[in-house]
Structures are given as C-alpha cells and as structure tokens.
C-alpha cells in the first residue's frame, strides 16, 4: 500500500473540501439564479 496518505487527517480533508467546495457552491448558486431568467 501507498504510504503517501499517512499525513492526511479529517481536518485536512475538511479544509481541502471547504477550500474548493465553498466557492464552488457560491458559484453554482449565483449561476442558477442567473439561469432562472431564461424561464421567466
């Protein structure tokens, strides 16, 4: 097995996912709000 993952903790994962996920979720929300104008 690979030992390159040994330093990864739950905190690392939460931070990494948050770093990508929070801006992503904000971007998706803004895009969907904007796209709703297509059907109004």
């Amino acid at each position: 097995m690979n030992d390159t993952n040994q330093g990864t903790t739950t905190l690392h994962l939460v931070l990494a996912w948050g770093f990508v996920g929070i801006p992503l979720a904000w971007g998706i929300y803004k895009t969907l709000v904007s796209a709703l104008k297509l059907f109004q």
Partner: protein
C-alpha cells in the same frame, strides 16, 4: 481573477502527489476477467504516435470538442437570435452559465459512467446522442420551445466536458499507465486544434449565411447540422478503435529496466 487562479493552482500543486508504484485504493479488487480494450502493458510515449489508436482518439477528442466549443462561444448570440424578444442578453448570459455548470457536472458524470460501461461506449453515447441533439436544436427554435433548446444545449455541453474528462482513462486503457501523462500531453494538441476550428467554423458559417441574406435565426440551423455531421465522423473514428497491436507494447525487459531506473 488571475490572482485567484494563481492561489488555487499553487494549493493544488503543493498537495497533489503521485501514488507509489503498484498503489491501489483500499478495498479495490481488479476484475478477474481482463477486458479486451484495457491493456495491462505499456506503450512508450513516442511508440504511441505510431499507432492508429492514438490518431483515432486524437480525432475523437478533436471532433467532440470542436462541436462543443463551437456552440459554447456562440450560445449567447444564438439563443437571442433564435428566440428574439424572449431571450434577453441577461437571460442569455444565464444560459451560458448553466451550460458551464453542465460542462463541469458532465466531467464527473460521464467519466464515472465510463468506468461502468467502458470508454468506447461512452464516446458512442457522446456521438450518437450529440448528433441527435444538434439535429433537434433547429426544431426547438421552430417550435419556439426554450426549455427544449436549453435541454439540448446543456446535455451537449455535459458531453463536451465529459469527453475531455474521459480521454485520459481512454488513453490509459489503450497505452497503459507508465507514459499516459506524456501521451495525454501530446493528444491534447487535438483540443488546441478544436479550440480554433470550432469557433472559426461556427462564426464563419454564421457570418457567411447572414451576409448572403439568410435570416439570423436560420443561420444557426446550418451550423447545428454541420456540428451533427462532425459528430457522425467522430462516431466512425471511435468505431474503428481496436486494442493496440502487440508489437507496439514495451517488452518485459524494457519495462523492468525502466522500473529499475
């Protein structure tokens, strides 16, 4: 934007690691029956260039991307021309945003689907479904159906993203893992060509038609049929892909020598 991009790329570059040789995810059990289109061997990077498979996959990606990127650049203008007075410039920007979301989502969806149904079948889906959808777009315009128009475009863009995301796995299946990064680097020239070809084709044909008296709403229709035609060509390129001939694979000695270096 440049600064944000720089930060994200630096974080990625700092944390990404190449797995150790022979690493497998915990609990992963390789399939007992080897699949015909998935090799267990390796092809050297420059040897891959001598295989028809490399050039067929090059064409597959180029045609898939040409069709996708062509409409992505023109979607805003196209939607406003096909639905004058109903799709405003603001709504059209919403459409482009929605297409981008599907472009992103398609990368996850189609790449994951390809793990289940195989890379070749996934590209068959792109080309068959894509051809159908491009052919439907003019009809959606004639019917005045914005939902159908939007549905066609977002699925098309999901397949554009999906095609891009599935291609590294397709290369790995064909040429093995050892040089897949370098082979992908060479193959990505097809994306560069498509990045020029798609928008140029769409713009040129649209401008040509408009300058020859074709109404703006109808000018897009010819482009859609052309894109459908490109996907038919892509379908056949994908159809001709077979496993790489044995003579192109690295010998066991060469592989062992490479591993020892």
């Amino acid at each position: 934007m440049g600064l944000i991009y720089f930060c994200f790329m630096m974080v990625g570059a700092a944390i990404v690691r190449i797995p150790a040789a022979g690493w497998l995810p915990a609990g992963y059990v390789p399939p007992a029956q080897p699949k015909k289109l998935i090799t267990n061997r390796n092809v050297y990077v420059y040897e891959a260039l001598k295989t028809p498979q490399f050039w067929l996959i090059w064409c597959v990606l180029c045609l898939n991307v040409t069709a996708g990127i062509g409409v992505l650049g023109q979607a805003s203008a196209m939607s406003q021309e096909m639905f004058p007075g109903r799709i405003t410039a603001v709504a059209a920007s919403g459409l482009v945003g929605l297409m981008s979301l599907f472009n992103m989502g398609g990368r996850f969806f189609w790449a994951s689907t390809s793990d289940l149904i195989g890379r070749k079948n996934t590209y068959f889906c792109f080309f068959a479904l894509g051809t159908l959808l491009y052919a439907i777009v003019p009809t959606a315009g004639d019917m005045g159906s914005i939902p159908l128009f939007v549905l066609c475009f977002v699925i098309i863009l999901s397949m554009y993203g999906g095609g891009f995301a599935t291609i590294p796995a397709y290369l790995r299946d064909m040429f093995g893992t050892r040089y897949v990064g370098a082979i992908h680097g060479l193959l990505i020239t097809s994306w560069s060509v498509a990045g020029i070809l798609g928008p140029v084709l769409v713009n040129y044909i649209r401008e040509y038609n408009i300058s020859h008296g074709v109404p703006k709403a109808d000018a897009c229709n010819i482009t859609m049929y052309l894109m459908a035609g490109l996907l038919v060509v892509g379908f056949f390129c994908n159809l001709f892909i077979r496993p790489v001939d044995d003579r192109h694979h690295m010998t066991k000695e060469a592989e062992a020598l490479g591993a020892a270096e």
